[in-house]
Every structure is written in C-alpha cells, then in structure tokens.
C-alpha cells in the first residue's frame, strides 16, 4: 500500500491508503465580496476525508476552518460565495454499506430541495456557542422534532418519542422534561448535549463539530468528548472536528488537517502531526500553545507576526512572511505543491519538494 514519496499532482489518488473516502474537496475557493474588498477565505482547499474516521482541523482564527465546513454544508451566505472548486460526497447505502452515489455538492443550489434533504440527514453541524445556535423561542423538543419530521416520514407523536430517545442517548438527565424546556433553562453542558441531539437526530454520515467544547468547562468537555467518541463508534459516523485545543485533537482524532490562510498546509495521521510534523507552521503552532503536564517552565514561542488580513494577496507560499525557514527567491515566488512525505502524510512546503531544485536549475 506504500506510495512513492515526492511531489504529486492535486488530482492524485487518495493519500489515505486503505481508507474508504466519503468526501473529496478539490481546489475550493470561497470568497466574501464585501464593501472594502474581496476576502479570500478559501484559496484552493484540497483534501479527502476517510469514512468513519475523525478528522481534526486546526489552525489560527481566520485560516478558513469554519468557512470550509460551511462551504461543504452549502451554508455560506451572501456576501460569501463559492467561486471555484468541487465538493464530492460519496453517499453510502445505509443497509448494504456500498457507495450508491457520487454527489457533486457544488453543482447543487444551496436552497434546493436536494441540498436541504442532504443537510441534516447526510451532513450535520454542531457549533461552538449552543446558545446562539438554538432558537430561544422554541422548546428543545420542538427543535429536535422539526428535524425529525422534515427528514423522516413520521407523525408528531412518533417524532416526540424519537426526540426523547435521542436526548436519552446523549446522556441527558430527565429527557422527558428536557423536551419541554427552552434553551435558556439549561446549563451550558446540557445545551451542548441538546445541540448534539439535534445534529444527530437523523443519524448523519458526516458531522461537522466546530469547536463544540471550547465554551465548556473541562469536566463537561470530557463528558461531551466521551459521548462523541461513543456515538462515532456506534454508528460509524465521520466527524470533522474543528478545534485549536491540541489535547482534544490528540484524544479524539485519527487524522489531522492543518490549515493556514485558506489553504491546507499539512495532512497526516494524528501521531505524525504530534511527533513528526513537517510544515514549519505545524511545528510553530504546536510550540506556541501551553500544554498541560509540560512541567518545565519553558517560555512559549509565539509564531512571529500575525495572520495577514484576508483582503491582501500574498505571492508564493502564504506562510512565508512568518516562516523562519523561508527561502528567498523560492517561497515568496511560487506556491508550493503537494508532496507526499510518508504514508498518509502530505505537506505543502518547498523544504520537502523536489520541484525546487528543478526550478532553480532552470
């Protein structure tokens, strides 16, 4: 199953040998057309997501993690727009587990009947702040039942029964009472559980979790992570876990995608990201965050400078202005291509690219 090392083209076969791919994103560009200019939130994102695995997405704020998730869900609204690229979803038959259909999500209208069918049933999302994503004027039960009635052909009584079941499954105490409660009557952890119930009510095959535990206390966080792991194993769900908490990444993810300024800079198995990071940005990011259990009082090493604003256009590698290993004449001129550096490990950096010597020789 080993693949040869070296530069490969973007449309190359899956970099995850032995994995069934559920989602392919190719050359995705999402721009926001605002009054002060064009914010290039995604600048050619390419990645594959293996089915039934947890993919972590890390990077500083503004690197495009959330916009990637929203683009795939087709929930980018004006002034944002997907201007280029392809998102392919491989839908599986629930019973015999064979891929029955390749759906090009970028070809669908965001509000089309088909897209609305897929959202909720095939793909779902949990947000960071449950209070702002739950509707304050409907009860928890109403909101979960709405999703169930919309996607599954059941009546109100049956939907309520299922809502209670799913609340029970996520470990909510007194689910029969909770369905009659409004979001403000619940604690933060309970709201996040309600949000998860809502997202899982139609057992989606892909779940986007956008910093689902960032606003929670460690003890509640531990409970929610435990719950997600359990549910993931039980229904073989694919989870795309957006976070900047390295502990959460280490505990939850099988693979990690590192993003910077609207591009994927590195993708690898979770152990490679922690013990064998290749991209200078990945190593800097790991060094800049305090680790619990570090014992030694080492000074943190923040990444130089700040994330450039998305309105500016940077020539060459987007990270070169902040990179300690930037090579003048190379990194500030060309955009690095994809290099396979190991099994399931790819990086976009000229330090690992054979193409550099070739272009220098010319």
């Amino acid at each position: 199953m080993n693949q040869p090392s070296g530069s490969v083209t973007e449309s190359a076969v899956s970099i995850f040998p032995g994995e069934d791919i559920i989602l392919k994103v190719r050359d995705l560009h999402t721009y926001f057309f605002t009054d002060i200019g064009i914010a290039r939130a995604l600048n050619g994102v390419n990645f594959d997501i293996p089915r039934g695995k947890v993919m972590g997405m890390v990077g500083e704020s503004g690197c495009g993690k959330s916009v990637t998730a929203l683009s795939i869900m087709r929930m980018v609204t004006r002034p944002g727009k997907i201007v280029k690229g392809e998102i392919l979803l491989y839908r599986q038959d629930r019973n015999n587990k064979s891929v029955i259909e390749e759906i090009n999500l970028t070809a669908l209208e965001p509000m089309s009947h088909r897209m609305r069918e897929l959202r909720g049933a095939e793909m779902s999302m949990i947000f960071q702040e449950p209070m702002t994503s739950l509707n304050p004027s409907y009860t928890i039960g109403d909101q979960i039942m709405e999703a169930i009635i919309l996607h599954q052909n059941v009546d109100k009584a049956e939907a309520e029964k299922r809502a209670v079941e799913i609340l029970d499954a996520v470990g909510m105490a007194n689910p029969k009472l909770v369905v009659k409660r409004y979001p403000h009557e619940l604690s933060g952890g309970m709201r996040q559980r309600a949000m998860i119930s809502l997202a899982l009510s139609c057992t989606p095959s892909i779940l986007f979790a956008d910093e689902p535990t960032t606003a929670l206390d460690v003890t509640t966080e531990a409970q929610i992570l435990d719950l997600m792991r359990e549910l993931q194993a039980r229904i073989n769900m694919t989870i795309i876990f957006i976070t900047h908490n390295l502990g959460v990444v280490a505990q939850m993810c099988d693979y990690v995608t590192v993003m910077y300024l609207g591009r994927v800079v590195e993708q690898a198995g979770v152990e490679d990201i922690f013990f064998n990071p290749k991209h200078p940005y990945t190593s800097s990011l790991l060094r800049s965050i305090p680790h619990v259990g570090s014992r030694k009082k080492e000074r943190l090493k923040p990444i130089r400078g700040v994330v450039p604003d998305p309105y500016s256009k940077i020539n060459g590698c987007p990270y070169h202005p902040r990179c300690d290993q930037a090579m003048p004449g190379v990194c500030d001129v060309q955009v690095p291509g994809l290099t396979v550096v190991g099994p399931s490990h790819t990086v976009r950096c000229f330090l690992y690219s054979d193409a550099v010597e070739a272009s220098n020789a010319q």
Binding site: Q223, N245, A250, I289, P290
Partner: protein, 345 residues
Amino acid sequence: MLSETSHINPDDLLLEVKDLKKHFPIRRGTIRRASGVVKAVDGVNLYVKKGETLGLVGESGCGKTTAGRTIIRLLDPTGGIIRFNDPKQGWVNLESMDRKQLAAVRPHMQIIFQDPFSSLDPRMTVERIIAEPLVINRVASGSELHDRVTELMKVVGMRPEFRSRYPHAFSGGQRQRIGIARALALNPKLVICDEPVSALDVSIQAQVLNLLEDLQKDLDLTYIFVAHDLSVVEHISDRVAVMYVGKLVEVANVEALYYSPKHPYTEALMAAVPKPNPRMRDRPIKLPGEVASPANPPSGCYFHPRCRYAKDICSTQVPLLEEIEPEHFVACHFARELKLRGVVA
C-alpha cells in the same frame, strides 16, 4: 491565619484574605423581596506572596471572578477580612475602608479583564484610555503625561504612533495590550488578571502570556490569575488555588497541585484535561451530576454528591482548609489517607 500556620514572614506577603464572603440576594416577585441568597464566595482563606502568581481555577459559576473582584473591593464583601500590604502605609484592612481611604490604596491594585472588546470605551482614544488613571489620580499632566503614555505603550509592545486611534482599529490581542497598559499606568503592586487570554486566538495567547511574564519580572508585579484553562494556569502560576461552589478546596504549589493533588475534585479536574499526546488516550474519571448550586448547596462537603470517595461524614460535616504538608492546603476529611492521581503526561 494561614500564614501563621505556614510560618511565612508577613513582610513577604502582599495580601491576606480571611473568611471572605460575598453573597448576592435573589429577589423575586413584584416587590423584589429577597427570597434567598447566592453564596458566590463563601469563606475563602488565602494569602498572596510578593512577586508570585497565584492561579485561581474552577468551573464556571464557582465564584472565582467574584472572589477576584471582591478582593480589590470592586464588589463589597458580605463578610471577612482583606489585608493588603500597601507599599506606603503598610498593612491595611480593605474590607472596612470608605471611598476616600480606598482611593489612596487603589493605585496599587489593578485589574485586567477578560473581554478586550467590552472593557475599553469605544469613544475614547488609546491615549485617553491609558492616561485616564494618571489624570484621575493627578499623577501626571501635560508633556509628562504624554511621555508616560508613550512609555506605557512601548512597555506593552505597541507603537506609540497609534495613540490617537480608537479601540475598534485594533485586533483582540492589541486591545488586550491596551488594557494591560491601562492597568500598569499607576505602577500597581497587585494585578488581578481575570481570564486575560481566554478571548484571544491561540497564537496571540502565547504573546500576551509572555508579555505578562516579562512585565512581572521587570516591574515586580504580583498576579492573581483567574482562569479556567488549566494548561495556561500551569504555565503561568507559582501556586494554584482550586475553587468549588464558593469555597477553596485545595491550595498548593503548581507542581504539587498538578502532579500530587490531595482533593478528589482537583483529581477529577486534572483527569478531565485532554492530554496533548495521542499515544495516551484514557477515559477521564467521570464526575457525575452538575456543579452544585451556590444558592442551595448540599450539606457537609459541597463536593460530596459527586465525589467517588465520599463517606458518611462528608454529608454532615464541612471540611476545613487545613495545611497537611508545608504550604499544601486541602479541605477534605480524607486528605491524608487518599492516594490520588495527578496529571500524567
């Protein structure tokens, strides 16, 4: 007092708090009759040494922010003693001071807030924000004031040319620097840092934490660092106090508290932190139930309904914060017997 049991020289201390209480009435009905009381801070004892950073951790709603604010009299305490070692007047009692007396002590006690977006007045320029404490206390005026603002902006790593800009023109990290410059304007001794980095992006967090550490060294500052992120607290603190429903359950050196905790709640907290090592995946100790309500706390030890080591005595008697090893204080009936697990990483 705690310092007495610990044989610490009072001259080395900056602050001592004894049995501090802050209760908020719950008002119900049309005549707003007090129908109950939320014991946000309920008998906190602690001391802070000169030049150290004391971390204050706990789950949301445990009273850590209220404790920080009550200590510097931003809130009036319901009971207890707050003694502050004022550089000019020596030991003074803050809890009984009136406004005028407080005004003399306040320059030495400052606070940095969590949200750099709501803690700066959007209609004031950076210069006015940083100069305000200097003007109010009549410390500087004219060109002296101008120079001091320039100096403060340089100290926190901002370009003085930006002095006439408004807060909206800055990023979260830069705004937090403005807040820090304002807190430092009067050369304080004690700075309460109330979640100063939790609203910031990961890479900016590192910059602000480094800045706070540099300033502490250069300006001889003492911090009370209130936060819920245990990795940040481990990084910055010398000693850490753990709070649960208005009471301290454990206070110790950071090393002792993280690696050999003596209170079951601390153990559970430490076990809950996700370890940044994919080769060490373990299931955290499950803490059943929810944080007890400070309006209606359980009997005995407030933690007993969630504690896996609880025995009969725990539901009837409130454990006191006792020093069981030098400078290691624990409020648990079984602190000397339990063998607890700390952070393994």
